[in-house]
Symmetry: C2
Subunit: 140 residues, 2 copies
């Protein structure tokens, strides 16, 4: 999904289109890595130097609310964000360069059925994140 589409989604939900917001949205939409709010701030300021960090936080909040971005969980913390995929996708993250790849993973249903039978749980949600080295980083 493009930055324009994201801005349109924001507009559809009653949010206004501003230069500050546009800089943040374009930054995240065009970066294939998980970014912390501070990283978004620094990158987006190249597009719109007057941008304030507070606006980054507020825009991230709205984008997460509209499911356009998702939170990435890592050892050090869970404050990195990544553009979200369509439907239910899982995250594959490169430990070195932070590049993220989304993939479908519906092969889990059998496992869930098994767990559900064994534990009596009604499974409602799941979160799978895989990390390793991407093809590029493996060669170095």
């Amino acid at each position: 999904m493009s930055a324009e589409a994201w801005l349109a989604r924001l507009k559809d939900n009653g949010y206004r289109q501003t230069a500050a917001r546009q800089a943040v949205v374009e930054t995240i939409a065009q970066t294939p890595r998980a970014l912390t709010p501070l990283q978004v701030y620094h990158l987006a300021r190249k597009r719109y130097p007057a941008l304030g960090l507070v606006t980054v936080y507020r825009t991230l909040e709205k984008l997460e609310e509209l499911h356009l971005i998702q939170r990435v969980h890592q050892e050090g913390g869970c404050q990195a964000f990544l553009r979200a995929g369509q439907g239910h996708q899982h995250i594959l993250l490169c430990e070195r360069c932070q590049r993220a790849v989304l993939f479908e993973g519906d092969d889990l249903q059998a496992l869930f059925d098994h767990i559900s039978r064994q534990t009596g749980f009604e499974i409602r949600d799941h979160w799978l994140q895989i990390s390793g080295l991407c093809a590029d980083c493996r060669q170095k």
Copy 2:
């Protein structure tokens, strides 16, 4: 594993056995829910009222280092801890009562092989967490 065994593990690693530490360890070892540092603090103070919050953080750090506890990632944040299981286990969490169940889940190898072939990634680690309603909470 019991609280005594945890204390023994701490001792084996050169850490001393103190009343403060004992209160923290017993609290976590006996609670089947994921607890935040502050929750551990309040619960453990019932056993040892002079306990300071700082000691909770320091003890959690050591327990995590010895792999006796693990971090639980949740919507709101990732600062809850839970006793760790043997080997590689996954977490099943009840959304309502926060009860956690650990289960083996080695059925993922086929999925990983598939992903690895498709993306060129060398998979090194993964993290699966499932949430839903436990048998008790389903009936209410």
